[in-house]
Assembly symmetry: C2
DNA sequence: TCGTGTATTTACCAAATGGTCAAAAACAAG
DNA sequence: CTTGTTTTTGACCATTTGGTAAATACACGA
């Protein structure tokens, strides 16, 4: 059966589960949970619907599995922020990595956005268990940098929010951006803009927040 | 019938259409188009399902109507940006207004986000017809301000994107933010942060973009 | 090659859902 | 009250969709 409690998954099982999860990422990210159908996932995966339900207990389980896997990938850049590195460089690198993820993994970004938009019904536990601790830890690191005078004083929490918002925007609102930037040079102006914005924000100098 | 080609709508008709559209905003913004059901909308509106279909031709038409109405509200702040005003003040005021809209009209923000996330299937025409021209016009205004040396030189298009992204983030990702900021002082730190960020970005000074 | 557990398909089902229709209320005007 | 119009409803319908059961095909080690 598929419910092997501890058996090693056969090669064919691994392959099919991967195909299903990849198809599910496609479909869920494009239509949301309720908008996606098992038939669509089945077709995309090149398998029959009952066959898919042979590998997963139901639509819900597929969705949860995809979201769980996504979580790791998604937290990776933030987790990679090095408390020992140069503060400004670390943050600007983080911005850059997030921006690249929007480019290279738009499906993942949209899937995540979809889930949060609906109130994170299935992801809330993950957010509390995985994201929250990491978020708090990174806020503390950034705060320490600021206290040491290595960065301008701003609210670390909203700094992170603004990084997420601006970078993920390019994946999540791509349809809008395509309309607004139609036919314009594909220069990577976004990267340059964001680097400038966050550098200016974080560089301690004459423009710092008034006490 | 409801299909009066030019007749004035009766008072009861106006009232019911409004109830339906408000209920639809609730339901669509919370579950997306496919996730929303006519029964949910009917219940929320306090009407029966057939009665709803007496006022609207179908689910699709309700959705389109809500989106169209939303468009005006949504473009209003950008349209209100005054080319004659003080550049920095104008933009910072715009940021503030957009942030307030995220607070006061989160349903609208999420409905919009949902639609764009799905690739703007029903809104694409509106984007091209209404948003695009306004966007181009405002970009030109901002560019002129920069050329006159009244603002630091950055890409106006990405400036606007970043304003949208950061402000709407507070409505669209509220579920996530609630988890991450749980139990923290409800100070309006977001407003202060964003004002600082965009002021530092746009104030011509030592931290300007390198030529 | 054979047998056994694995994988896949065919044929279904029940619930949900968008939508219809005719008739009943409700209502307005004379 | 009566008549003509607008509004509302109850009873249905067809399709979609998540899911199941049983039968069939397949892989692969003995």
């Amino acid at each position: 059966m598929a419910e092997q409690t501890q058996k090693k998954p056969s090669r064919i099982q691994q392959r099919n589960r991967r195909k299903i999860l990849d198809a599910a990422l496609d479909v869920f990210s494009a239509h949301g949970f309720r908008g996606a159908t098992l038939d669509q996932i089945a077709e995309q995966a090149g398998l029959s619907k009952p066959n898919i339900l042979y590998y997963f207990d139901g639509k819900e389980e597929i969705h949860v599995t995809v979201l769980s896997q996504l979580m790791e990938t998604w937290l990776d850049p933030l987790a990679g922020l090095d408390p020992e590195g140069d503060p400004l460089t670390e943050i600007l690198t983080y911005v850059q990595r997030k921006l690249e993820m929007s480019r290279d993994l738009p499906r993942e970004s949209r899937l995540f956005a979809n889930e949060i938009l609906q109130g994170a019904p299935r992801m809330d536990p993950h957010l509390r268990a995985d994201l929250k601790p990491l978020f708090d830890a990174r806020c503390a690191v950034i705060q320490a940098w600021m206290d040491a005078g290595k960065l301008a004083q701003v609210d670390p929490r909203h700094l992170i929010f603004s990084i997420w918002a601006t970078t993920q925007h390019y994946a999540d609102f791509q349809a809008q951006i395509d309309v607004l930037l139609e036919g314009q040079e594909p220069t990577d102006a976004a990267a340059q803009f964001l680097q400038t914005m966050f550098r200016n924000l974080l560089t301690p100098g004459p423009n710092t927040t008034p006490a």
